[in-house]
């Protein structure tokens, strides 16, 4: 990221980017439309990263909006996406942050963030249910929407419906 680009950022996002770079110099930070900051993090780096953005006073992202995933089947990867915001500051200065973690499609494992944001509990269960991402350290990683005996993860692009055919019931 060049100096020129950095100076065009909204004022309230500059300290966020600075604080992130201070601890993680290699991090790629992009400014997206509507003033979202987007960050790509490695899976093994993620526990340290999330702990930092929650607890470092200059960042304090205390609100986890959403955890979801995208199946990039052609690239062989599953991308877990975290949307974060902070509520503690003035409404105009609230930073919004998107964190993306690429995982291998054949064995997607990432550290759970339930111990940092408890709201992630159901979100991660849903991502596990729909995409098969395993969140290590999750207190209760079960299917949340589909039946417990469901086969496969339906939002994967190569999902094949394996249900036995049902026939019409008559009296």
């Amino acid at each position: 990221m060049s100096e020129h680009e950095a100076t065009t950022w909204p004022e309230h996002l500059q300290p966020v980017a600075d604080a992130l770079r201070e601890r993680f110099p290699q991090l790629s930070i992009e400014l997206k439309p509507d003033n979202w900051l987007e960050v790509k993090v490695d899976a093994d780096q993620s526990p340290e990263f999330f702990r930092y953005i929650k607890e470092y006073p200059g960042l304090a992202f205390d609100y986890l909006l959403d955890v979801t995933a995208v199946d990039y089947i052609n690239e062989g990867k599953l991308q877990v996406v975290y949307h974060l915001a902070r509520l503690g500051t003035d409404a105009k200065k609230r930073g919004k942050l998107v964190v993306k973690i690429d995982l291998p499609r054949d064995n997607p494992r990432v550290r759970s963030v339930v111990d940092i944001w408890p709201t992630a509990n159901f979100h991660e269960r849903e991502v596990y249910d729909m995409f098969g991402v395993v969140f290590e350290g999750h207190p209760d990683l079960r299917r949340i929407l589909m039946r417990e005996d469901w086969v496969g993860h339906p939002l994967r692009k190569d999902y094949v419906d394996q249900r036995p055919k049902r026939t019409r019931v008559t009296r």
């Binding site: 589909m146 469901w150 999902y159 419906d161 049902r166 026939t167 019409r168 019931v169």
Partner: protein, 164 residues
């Protein structure tokens, strides 16, 4: 009620027991307080004062044990299908089922999707299908009237009403 032979005696009608039973059953179709999707809103509207199910002797019961009629108003997904079956099994016979709306008939807009049961008739037997997305209260009431017709014919040979 058929008045068969002799001079009319005030307050007396002759009929068969079967017809009497059918008449009493069709006139007190207590339906189960059960809604699984947006069609339930229309079902509630039908039960409320503007359309007024009560005039057919229909009141909702919050227990399947006291219900005669199960209106299935909405999408039946795989997880709900088991519950629908359990509720149906808990109802005492005689019991009837109305599939209300496209989803309950064959999956409707979700036909063929994962997790969707393509029609509640894959789980329990259905007597009357009411199409619509959602059906208006008039449509549901028409379905109920058809069901009443059907109940009146149970166990008796009555020619079907003429078409047209």
């Amino acid at each position: 009620m058929g008045l068969i032979t002799h001079e009319a005696v005030p307050g007396v009608v002759t009929t068969s027991l079967r017809r009497l039973l059918n008449w009493s059953r069709k006139s007190s179709l207590w339906y189960m307080l059960f809604g699984i999707a947006c069609c339930a809103i229309e079902m509630m509207a039908t039960g409320a004062s503007r359309y007024d199910f009560d005039r057919f002797g229909m009141i909702f019961r919050a227990s399947p044990r006291q219900s005669d009629l199960m209106i299935v108003p909405g999408t039946v997904n795989e997880k709900m299908a088991d519950r629908v079956k359990v509720l149906y099994d808990q109802m005492a016979e005689p019991r009837w089922v109305i599939a209300m709306g496209g989803c309950a008939i064959n999956g409707g807009p979700y036909h063929g999707e994962y997790n969707i049961v393509d029609g509640v008739d894959k789980v329990i037997p259905v007597d009357v299908y009411v199409p619509g997305c959602p059906p208006r209260p008039e449509a549901l009431m028409h379905g109920v009237l058809l069901l009443q017709d059907k109940i009146m014919r149970e166990g008796i040979e009555i020619p079907a009403p003429a078409k047209g």
